[in-house]
């Protein structure tokens, strides 16, 4: 090859920096150049912040009902209307009227009145992280209510509910993936390091777990939750089954890495020096493919999130009043609701964006995971 491979400069200051950089620095440099992956990471960071500070970002509590605005369409902030232009965004006020025939309350938009949107307004009291009492919300209106994403059949603010749901869905994903990863590390590690009949047994077992279709298997396990369990118990049970069903795929990849490394000279050297098996796995072999493990974990996220959504959607996962993407989508299950209130589809948009973000981030990480290889195009 006549040209230098990209990312490996020839000489000078650049080269010095390149050759003295640690592995993780190289990974980071490489990842930074992957624009789609960075966008994915940014979106996920945003989601994580939204979930973490849901109480602050959401203008209302997740179960607060606005009886005057049931099945209300989204109120989009605007800067101008018939009365001219305003630098501060506003929504139009609502007025309640009675339907002359059915006497039902209906909300009408009053284009004459503006409700300006302010940041850091005082709203319903809440406890940040369940501890710090607070009243300040990120945004809101001083009179009336604002429903950015509309309301559901009970008049609950969809935007607020989505914020809480984002936190729940992502945290279940994280816990489930961590559990799966931990199990995979232990089981795949044992299989890959010892080989032989232990490996054979574990391989056969993972094969059998993998042959059963995943969602039906989840459903079977989730059906076993006693009805009287509290929502917290169901939440943790969900993470456990997501982890239990998720580990075989990860364990398989891990085993592959381990098997490939097992016969390397440095492992033999460590063993000759009297290191124990656990020590060799932990100290010598794992660091050699930590980056791959991270990639595998990130890649398995979308499946966990989609599984949680699917299970909660059909009523076998989390249960209301817990809020998760799947539970919010339950409202969008029948066509009539969608006809009347297409904005109930919005949680699905969050699911799609999250899955896409994880996918592109995973792809970017995979490219960056081995910074010593020449980049393929």
């Amino acid at each position: 090859m006549s040209t230098e491979p990209p990312g490996r400069p020839g000489h000078g200051e650049e080269a010095l920096r390149y050759y003295t950089a640690s592995q993780w620095q190289l990974v980071w440099w490489r990842l930074r150049r992957h624009r789609a992956a960075m966008a994915g990471a940014f979106v996920l960071l945003l989601f994580a912040l939204m979930g973490l500070f849901a109480d602050f970002v959401a203008p209302y509590g997740g179960t607060t009902r606005d009886r005057d605005y049931i099945y209300g369409p989204p109120q989009i902030p605007r800067f101008r209307d018939g009365n001219g232009f305003s630098f501060r965004p506003f929504v139009h006020a609502l007025k309640t009227e009675r339907d002359p025939v059915t006497l039902r309350k209906i909300a009408r938009i009053d284009t004459g009145k503006r409700r300006y949107i302010y940041f850091f307004v005082k709203g319903e009291p809440y406890r940040l992280f369940g501890l710090v009492p607070a009243r300040t919300r990120l945004f809101g209106v001083r009179e009336g209510k604002i429903h950015l994403f509309g309301t559901d059949d009970l008049g609950r603010d969809l935007f607020s509910r989505l914020m809480y749901a984002t936190g729940v869905s992502l945290s279940i994903g994280v816990l489930g993936v961590l559990l799966a990863g931990g199990l995979a590390l232990v089981i795949g590690g044992i299989a890959g390091y010892f080989g032989g009949w232990i490996d054979y047994g574990i391989q056969r077992f993972t094969e059998i777990v993998r042959v059963v279709p995943v969602i039906p298997l989840y459903m079977g396990l989730a059906a076993a939750f006693p009805r009287e369990w509290s929502n917290i118990q169901v939440y943790f049970a969900m993470t456990v089954i997501l982890g239990l069903v998720g580990w075989p795929t990860l364990a398989r990849r891990l085993r592959g890495h381990l098997l490939a490394q097992r016969n390397e000279d440095y492992v033999l050297a460590a063993r000759l020096s009297g290191a124990s098996s656990a020590w060799i796995i932990r100290k010598h072999m794992l660091p050699s493919f930590t980056s791959y493990i991270i990639v595998d974990v990130v890649i398995s996220f979308p499946y966990v999130i989609l599984s949680e959504t699917a299970l909660s959607f059909i009523g076998l996962g989390l249960r209301p009043p817990t809020m998760s993407w799947g539970i919010l989508l339950q409202d969008a299950q029948n066509v009539r609701a969608i006809e009347q209130a297409p904005w109930l589809f919005l949680p699905a948009l969050f699911v799609i964006v999250a899955v896409l973000a994880f996918t592109v981030l995973g792809d970017g990480l995979r490219d960056a995971a081995d910074p010593y290889s020449v980049r393929k195009r």
């Binding site: 059963v212 995943v214 076993a224 076998l316 699911v351 896409l356």
Partner: protein, 331 residues
């Protein structure tokens, strides 16, 4: 080849044996046993008070007082010898009767979806590999990403919504209202196909998205190899160069993952079927899990897995036929 077939068939039986144990464990997992639920279902609301001894007698009748391994043997014995999957208390009949009507539709839907997946993914994947980094290739990559990101029930809902909104039809169910009670005719058959097409498209999307990328990747690798250049140098027409060598190899990974595709489709089928109200096994599986009708649920889990295991077997055989190296090694 015969040795290979026998080996794989034995492996299939062994796998199914372990799967049946797992399914049995899942059936036993929910709190309370069949007798409790049977009594609750049968007598709740009737005003008859159920005593512990009543439940005990029900327990005896169904043999629930015996140890778990014995119950497992009776259950699996019934399935193997008499093809009897046990009772269904939610429908107050046998599990066989409930499942029988739906199994056919499930298989038809599965085969339709697989056919659609391969008819789409193989040619498109080859096309994408031949036109790498063209706008069409990038477009297909985006579609693939979306195919994996959009949950299938979402896609079903969107189609359902579009159908209602713009075509004034119902996409759900098996027949249009005018055909529901009609006797079988070509019109009714066409109507059935039309209703099955939408769920098949929904189910095929993500499978296609995945396979398309596999075909594209393998095909790109193969196209870069020297034998392709050699074939070209011998003056073979371009279409022959592509179809005769690299395309054949690009199909291999697709064939070897048929079982994986079936697994994926079955994974998504229940929810899609629920949204589109298709009377097939997956939808029944959800219902029976919600009702804790565990004999039916167990039977369906076992059946779906059996189909997957069988498709794995088929894929092994087809692969051996396609690739003599595998055949001659004896697996």
């Amino acid at each position: 080849m015969l040795r290979f077939l026998i080996q794989r068939a034995v492996g299939m039986v062994v796998t199914m044996f372990f799967v049946s144990i797992m399914v049995f464990v899942i059936m036993e997992l929910p709190p309370g046993d069949y007798a409790d639920r049977y009594a609750f279902r049968k007598f709740s609301g009737t005003g008859v008070s159920v005593t512990e001894s009543d439940i005990e007698s029900i327990r005896k009748r169904f043999g629930l007082d015996r140890p778990a391994w014995e119950r497992y043997l009776t259950w699996i014995g019934g399935i193997v010898t008499r093809f009897d999957f046990g009772p269904s208390f939610a429908f107050e009949t046998s599990a066989n009767a409930v499942i029988g009507q739906r199994a056919g539709l499930t298989v038809v839907l599965l085969l339709g979806t697989l056919l659609l997946t391969y008819l789409l993914s193989i040619p498109i994947g080859i096309y994408a590999a031949l036109h790498r980094q063209s706008p069409a290739d990038y477009g297909l990559t985006v579609v693939s990403y979306l195919g994996l990101a959009i949950p299938n029930f979402m896609l079903a809902l969107i189609l359902l919504y579009l159908g209602v909104r713009y075509f004034g039809t119902t996409v759900g169910g098996l027949f249009s209202p005018e055909y529901t009670q009609a006797p079988w005719s070509w019109g009714k058959f066409a109507d059935l196909l039309r209703h099955l097409l939408v769920p098949a498209v929904v189910l095929a999307w993500s499978a296609t998205a995945l396979q398309l990328q596999t075909v594209r990747a393998t095909m790109s690798d193969e196209l870069a190899k020297l034998y392709v250049d050699a074939a070209r140098a011998r003056g073979l027409p371009e279409w022959k160069v592509i179809l005769k060598y690299p395309a054949r190899l690009a199909i291999n990974p697709v064939v070897s993952t048929i079982g994986f595709d079936v697994n994926r489709i079955f994974s998504e089928l229940p929810i899609v079927a629920l949204v589109m109200s298709l009377p097939e096994l997956g939808e029944l599986l959800i219902k029976s899990f919600l009702d804790l009708d565990m004999y039916v649920a167990g039977a369906i889990l076992l059946m779906l897995t059996a189909i997957i295991v069988f498709m794995n077997f088929v894929s092994d055989v087809v692969l051996a036929l396609l690739d003599p190296r595998i055949r001659l090694e004896g697996g």
